[in-house]
């Protein structure tokens, strides 16, 4: 502890240089934590997804619709207990910047099959009884300061949903019971959408509840077989596999984002290492004087590493704090059900700080060896 003042004062020696090093480490840790948050979001959705629910989409792409009677066909498949369906609405609330996910759902079956959507019995009843009613996530309600009974109007964002505005009444505010459900979304009745849609009787995807998770893959195959050679061929998978494949649609994110993070960290390491080496070179005389006063080489080594640690951990703390405050669905308004669990976790903050400490130690290692191996007589000859 008695060396802390010495380390802090040495780190502040060149304020501008130290500030730039802190900034470079902060940026590295910020990027690392942000990229990890995206990957964790996908992982959390996949992990929390049910293995007893299978999702059916059009085989060509999930952006194409299919007839609503597919749901009845799927329901008749052996092993299927229950079925629900939904559409992506893509409406605009006042301004396209106010983006959030809006899903037209078959309300009764949807709430039955998604117990993770937690809503009180009164609000549930009010929602089911009102054709233009909707449920909003508590995160979304907080974002727009919405309350039960408020009326909101959405403009349709997809041409075949018509050109007329869609007025809604908020009948309930739901809580997300797992990472698989987004609390930044809105659910409304599919019938309301269908009666105004230019293409009647179409749905985006169907979710089937299977009795036995071990049979989910077999059921999925049977479902797809039923629509083979029809104009609306399907692709069915468990919700877990569906979530995972959704992540894969964006490319091999793990490798891509991991490579970006690694490149940033290595670059920062070189920047910080070079700065530390410069700082130690400038202090050759001081280090020689300290050795003359009796400071052993090991203490000099520890002081230089300590200095690197202070600068890097300060940068890491700033980067992690900014990431923690800004990288979340609510702050960035990145709602829409793709990565509901989006945010920098405590664990990622800890890993980010650990990473900054590692950068600090590695960057200071070579300069610390230089300082501790300083040839005293030669260094003092320059002094005297």
């Amino acid at each position: 502890m008695k060396y802390v003042n010495l380390v802090l004062k040495s780190a502040r020696r060149s304020k501008r240089r130290s500030a730039l090093t802190v900034l470079s480490v902060a940026i590295a840790v910020f990027l690392f934590a942000s990229l990890r948050a995206v990957l964790d979001g996908f992982d959390a959705v996949a992990a929390a997804s049910s293995s007893t629910r299978v999702v059916t989409i059009r085989s060509t792409s999930m952006i194409f619709n299919m007839p609503v009677n597919h749901a009845e066909v799927i329901k008749s498949t052996p092993g299927v207990q229950d079925v629900t369906y939904a559409n992506w609405f893509g409406g605009i609330y006042k301004d396209p910047k106010n983006f959030f996910g809006q899903f037209a759902v078959e309300p009764e079956s949807y709430l039955r099959m998604y117990p993770e959507v937690i809503v009180s019995p009164e609000e549930r009843k009010a929602f089911l009884e009102d054709r233009t009613g909707c449920l909003v996530g508590d995160g979304l309600a907080k974002r727009f300061d919405w309350h039960i009974g408020d009326r909101i109007v959405l403009q349709p964002g997809i041409p075949y949903y018509g050109t007329q505005d869609y007025p809604f009444t908020i009948r309930g505010i739901y809580k997300a019971g797992s990472s698989a459900v987004d609390n930044q979304s809105m659910l409304f009745q599919w019938k309301y959408l269908d009666e105004r849609s230019l293409q009647k009787g179409e749905i985006g995807w169907i979710v089937a509840q299977v009795a036995d998770p071990d049979r989910a893959a077999t059921v999925a195959l049977e479902v797809d077989r039923k629509f083979e050679n029809s104009p609306y061929e399907t692709k069915t998978d468990t919700e877990k596999a569906f979530s995972a494949s959704f992540g894969k649609m964006l490319g091999n994110l793990n490798v891509l984002l991991g490579s970006v993070a690694l490149a940033v960290v290595i670059t920062t390491l070189f920047v910080a290492g070079n700065t530390m080496a410069m700082s130690v070179r400038e202090r050759t005389t001081e280090i020689a004087v300290m050795r003359t006063l009796g400071y052993p080489a090991s203490t000099i080594f520890a002081l230089v590493v300590g200095e690197g640690l202070v600068v890097a951990i300060l940068g890491g703390a700033i980067g992690a704090a900014i990431a923690r405050l800004t990288i979340n669905g609510e702050f960035l308004h990145l709602a829409g059900g793709f990565i509901p669990a989006f945010g920098v976790s405590n664990w990622n903050v800890v890993v980010g700080l650990g990473l900054s400490a590692l950068i600090g130690v590695l960057a200071a290692l070579l300069p610390a060896i230089m300082a501790s191996r300083l040839k005293l007589v030669d260094a003092l000859r320059r002094v005297a």
Binding site: M290, T292, L376
Partner: protein
């Protein structure tokens, strides 16, 4: 038993395969409480001799015994510990750490000891009091004159109450007035506090303050002025 005993000490450096002798078969004894002035032209080996006494350098041949310890045979780590306990070093260019206050500079050698914060403070303030700079404790080196900086450096050298004070041209960078003050201070440390001092200097006026003077030329001892001025 003498405090310093150099026996048959030689030192040479190797530069580009050529052996350059710096000290040749030098033998010196210094009693505790002496104030020795080491004089000689540049390159005569006086700073090398001082470095050997401080354990900063090692002789090529011979024995260096200081405060009952044969330091030429000590390893790097024990030598650092020995230096912290027995040696106070004063440089020509003061060499204070610019980011530390006068107090913190003087405290630097004490951080290596097991003294508590309060004890360290007592020691530092005593040392600053001896050099007459108690009121400058919170000043940074850039806020002090050259003479004051050298006095802080002396406080740093004496704060651990070392056995031996080594001064390498302590007045070489000072004006006449400041040089006089520093020399008076060193003389006081020798006479009042009984510190053994070895001082390297070019300046005959500075050397006059020493109780003994040794002259080095081309690495050998040429003359010993044995008269005591104390």
């Amino acid at each position: 038993m003498p405090l310093i005993e150099l026996r048959d000490v030689s030192k040479s450096y190797r530069r580009d395969q050529i052996e350059i002798p710096v000290l040749e078969r030098v033998s010196i004894t210094v009693e505790a409480g002496d104030f020795l002035g080491l004089m000689g032209p540049s390159g005569s080996g006086k700073s090398t001799l001082l470095n050997l006494l401080a354990g900063i350098d090692r002789p090529t041949h011979g024995s260096v015994r200081v405060a009952d310890t044969e330091i030429s045979s000590l390893g790097e780590r024990p030598l650092a510990t020995w230096r912290a306990r027995h040696i106070g070093f004063i440089f020509q260019l003061y060499n204070l750490i610019p980011v530390l206050t006068a107090f913190e500079n003087v405290e630097l050698p004490l951080l290596l000891t097991s003294l508590s914060k309060a004890q360290r403070k007592d020691h530092v303030m005593t040392a600053l009091g001896i050099v007459g700079l108690s009121d400058r404790a919170q000043h940074y080196p850039r806020q002090l004159s050259g003479g004051q900086e050298q006095r802080v450096a002396i406080a740093r050298a004496i704060v651990t109450d070392p056995t031996l004070l080594l001064a390498d041209e302590p007045t070489g960078d000072l004006d006449a007035k400041s040089a006089g003050e520093v020399l008076t201070l060193l003389q006081r440390l020798n006479q009042e506090y009984k510190k053994t001092i070895v001082m390297v200097t070019h300046d005959p006026h500075a050397a006059e303050r020493a109780s003994h003077i040794l002259h080095l030329e081309k690495g050998t001892l040429v003359e010993q002025a044995a008269e005591s001025r104390a």
